[in-house]
Assembly symmetry: C2
Homo-oligomer: 229 residues x 2
């Protein structure tokens, strides 16, 4: 249902939704998830506090919207990062550096998606597809990382406990034809990158590795050197 006919009301609503998200994001820049104040947003919006609840049923709903947006935006950046990469390895480097650039440009958004869990917030299922896009964007640097998997996988009851089974199942869930070795490499590389950014943004490098540009680049290259391209 494309329904391109937007009534002015729908248009205004979308506009307001975006303004709320923008204000929330701005507020999040120098506060943090738990501190997000709907009242403050309403104040800046020059509207009574309860009015905001017409747009987001709760603070958690707003957070979810921000998280989905953040995943989407990050995925966009990663997908675009390797546009001019000459080979797979260069694509990996480009994407890893793009991830850091994105995280540093908006540390609060990085924290939102890869930071520690938020108060009583439980991420709804709406967020798993956008989260998958990020992983897929990274998987694209690997052979088979873009080809759709032939067999849709029978989806057994529960996750297998052995690593091989888990790797196979995850590749199937992502819908790509990735070898298990490659997927394991990807998970390790992703963990390393997320960890390095967590430490950098958390200020754990202060006094030692600041700026961390060279350190990060070295870690990314070392990761790349671990496989055959």
């Amino acid at each position: 249902m494309p329904e391109s006919r937007r009534t002015p009301r729908q248009l205004a609503r979308e506009e307001t939704l975006q303004r709320i998200k923008d204000l929330a994001l701005a507020q999040l820049a120098d506060a943090s998830a738990g501190e997000l104040s709907l009242r403050a947003i309403a104040r800046e919006l020059d509207v009574v506090s309860s009015a905001v609840y017409r747009y987001f049923a709760s603070r958690d709903d707003l957070l979810t919207a921000l998280i989905v947006d953040a995943y989407g935006d990050l995925a966009d950046h990663l997908e675009a990062a390797a546009d001019h990469a000459s080979d797979r390895r260069a694509a990996w480097t480009a994407k890893a550096l793009a991830l850091r650039a994105w995280a540093r440009a908006a540390p609060h958004r990085f924290a939102l998606v890869y930071g520690s869990t938020i108060p009583g917030y439980r991420a709804p299922e709406t967020t798993i597809a956008p989260a998958g896009r990020v992983v897929l964007a990274l998987a694209a640097v690997l052979p088979g990382g873009t080809e759709p998997r032939p067999d849709p996988a029978p989806s057994p009851d529960g996750t297998p406990a052995d690593l091989t089974g888990q790797l196979a199942l995850t590749a199937a869930a992502l819908g790509i034809a990735l070898s298990e070795d490659d997927l394991l490499w990807l998970v390790g590389a992703f963990a390393r990158v997320v960890g390095a950014l967590t430490l950098e943004l958390g200020g754990h490098f202060v006094g030692g590795f600041e700026p961390a540009d060279e350190l990060y680049a070295a870690l990314v290259e070392e990761e790349a050197a671990r496989r055959e391209w």
Copy 2:
């Protein structure tokens, strides 16, 4: 000033301090940093809310105390983990697994120290020494990771931008005689481990790698395989 003579008043105070921290930790277990409520603590302590401020000047002060304790506790665990390790490599594995065990046993404490930054909270300098203990415990698995560094380092103005200089400076700051290659390996390994735990505790493995025991073990071993022991 050892001052072993504790007046009953000091004793009672320490007792209360500990009780507050315990309650805070318990509360943090199923809430999260920003949600820490001094009022709730006072309620459980059966005391009026303002009384708590006699012990911790602010919520941030309490958080700082918890962070320092967490670093200390983690460092204790890591130091003890490799007691029966036969060689360096086994020590690394043992400590990496101990880190995960600690994090899974108390995810809120892990989030406290390695999670995303807390609201307006700025970690005071009190926390950097305990944080260093953790790194030192891990560095101990490397040759020279325990030997005190001969030269105290001149401590130049500002951190150098090139990686080699940063590595040398950091080793000096930690006060250990670690080669630059080894330190770089350590940082990478630490980043990977922190990242893997961040993802696991953040629920990013749900549906794919759950339980993540084998995955984590594989990542740790792969990391170990990257250097000569």
